[in-house]
């Protein structure tokens, strides 16, 4: 406890770095995967290409990717940019599938009705497709948020600053408290981020609340299953 108080400045700084490294890729991943998912919906062949490529990229272990990226990007190995790019790749791999599922989950009749009411493609996408796909999309985002926050700590092994530093430092000094504090801090960040995402989903999809009262939201189990599904499709 004393150790936490006397090092609170350092812990907060590391937590800040940690959040930036985890959240920037999540946002970038979302921005990239939505158009990619739309592209994949054009034809079954494109869908196969996008899904196969994303599950292949997801296969590469993070520590290896942190080291393969610098020569490709022309960055130094300590550059946080490597971590951001690597985690963005994982986020895209998970979110493309979630976004595809999300857009598939929108009732085709609703889409047709919107067209019949005179919606042009862009407004229809922004005002009908996107809002209705939010629940499934958010399930994917929650998986990405948890996995990113956990993965960032691996980058500390290469010297990129974040909460994972508490682990490497704790091991060198054989100081258990520091390691436990690091684990707790990361768990807290993951929980807070998850709560924020749940809250955001609730604010953005007010119409689902009526349905929620009827039964438990499928989003919780969907989140658990979502990362399993990256490989469930196999080559298909």
């Amino acid at each position: 406890m004393e150790w936490i108080l006397s090092n609170s400045g350092m812990i907060l700084e590391r937590a800040g770095q940690h959040m930036v490294l985890a959240l920037v890729p999540m946002v970038l991943g979302l921005v990239i995967s939505i158009p990619l998912a739309q592209l994949a919906r054009i034809s079954p062949a494109l869908r196969t290409v996008v899904l196969t490529a994303s599950s292949l990229l997801y296969t590469i272990p993070s520590l290896a990717l942190f080291i393969i990226l610098p020569p490709l990007l022309g960055t130094r190995i300590l550059d946080p940019l490597n971590v951001i790019v690597a985690l963005t790749i994982y986020a895209v791999a998970l979110l493309v599938r979630a976004a595809l599922d999300a857009f598939d989950s929108v009732d085709e009749d609703l889409r047709q009705a919107a067209v019949a009411m005179g919606y042009k493609p862009w407004p229809r996408f922004l005002q009908v497709d996107l809002p209705l796909s939010l629940p499934v999309l958010f399930a994917g985002l929650r998986v990405v948020s948890v996995s990113n926050i956990s993965l960032v700590s691996v980058a500390a092994l290469l010297g990129v600053g974040n909460l994972g530093m508490l682990f490497t430092d704790g091991l060198q000094r054989t100081f258990v408290t520091e390691v436990v504090v690091g684990i707790m801090a990361i768990l807290v960040l993951a929980l807070v981020m998850d709560a924020v995402l749940v809250l955001m989903e609730r604010l953005l999809t007010p119409w689902t609340r009526a349905a929620d009262a009827a039964g438990p939201s499928p989003a919780v189990s969907a989140g658990i299953v979502a990362d399993v599904r990256v490989h469930a499709g196999g080559g298909s």
């Binding site: 272990p61 290896a64 393969i68 691996v154 684990i183 990361i186 658990i224 990256v230 469930a232 298909s236």
Partner: protein, 248 residues
């Protein structure tokens, strides 16, 4: 830029790196040994539990909650904590890895079993199959597709995390990364990374092949015609592969 890659290629091709204690074959074998050990222990815990929860629906909320919370645990933190508390050696990191591997395996098994159409299960029960027959001859073959998703995710996670174990320090392909980092030997680090990435992709491809072999042909997405109908057929005539599937 291309210099680094030619250096790395030269490093991998160097015959000196293919023999001895720290040669590529030895490191690769260590990597596979650790991974296999973790997978066997984790599967022995997670698969029976997942089958039980999936079949009975009991303890579902607890399992999903615990699995979700465990997923948030940072890999590196847990490895370091176990190494500090339980000391050096092979087993502390193996147990840490088991804790990290059980959630995806459990979630995959549970999700696989509960993904099976309830009508199919009820039909099997109405035909007089015992609960065990339903589980192994109906639910398992029908849920195998989803279960394999969990197994492949878990295996990839193990291979990725075993690379981190070298930091503790133990063997495995991760050694090249950390030795290279200390020695400022970038070709060695990159070679290690490429080997790890190659191993992960190769293992995943093998598992995809096994999945294809074990999966009942009636469930294959390529089968033309109504998927519902073929699902019912498999329920009546369970695939023999189901028995092997339980031992993975």
């Amino acid at each position: 830029m291309s210099n680094i890659f030619t250096d790395t290629l030269a490093w991998i091709e160097d015959p000196a790196h293919w023999t001895g204690r720290s040669g590529i074959p030895v490191r690769l074998l260590e990597h596979l040994e650790y991974s296999g050990l973790v997978l066997v222990i984790a599967a022995a815990i997670a698969i029976p539990l997942g089958l039980y929860i999936g079949h009975t629906g009991r303890g579902r909320v607890v399992a999903v909650g615990v699995a979700g919370a465990l997923r948030a645990l940072p890999t590196l933190g847990l490895l370091v904590l176990f190494a500090l508390i339980a000391g050096s050696g092979l087993m502390p990191p193996v147990w840490a890895l088991v804790i990290l591997t059980v959630p995806p395996l459990l979630a995959g098994t549970y999700a696989g079993i509960s993904s099976v159409d309830r009508d199919v299960v009820d039909a099997a029960r109405a035909m007089g199959m015992t609960e065990l027959q339903i589980l192994f001859d109906v639910e398992l073959p029908n849920g195998l597709q989803v279960m394999f998703g969990g197994i492949r995710t878990a295996v990839l996670q193990i291979i990725a995390t075993v690379s981190v174990v070298a930091y503790l320090p133990l063997g495995g392909l991760g050694r090249y990364l950390f030795d290279g980092l200390v020695l400022q030997d970038f070709p060695r680090m990159l070679a290690g990374s490429l080997l790890i990435a190659g191993l992960a992709i190769a293992v995943d491809l093998v598992l995809a092949g096994v999945q294809r072999l074990l999966l009942s042909p009636g469930l294959s997405p390529e089968t033309p015609g109504g998927r519902k109908a073929t699902t019912d057929l498999t329920a009546v005539a369970p695939a023999p592969a189901a028995v092997q599937g339980g031992n993975t």
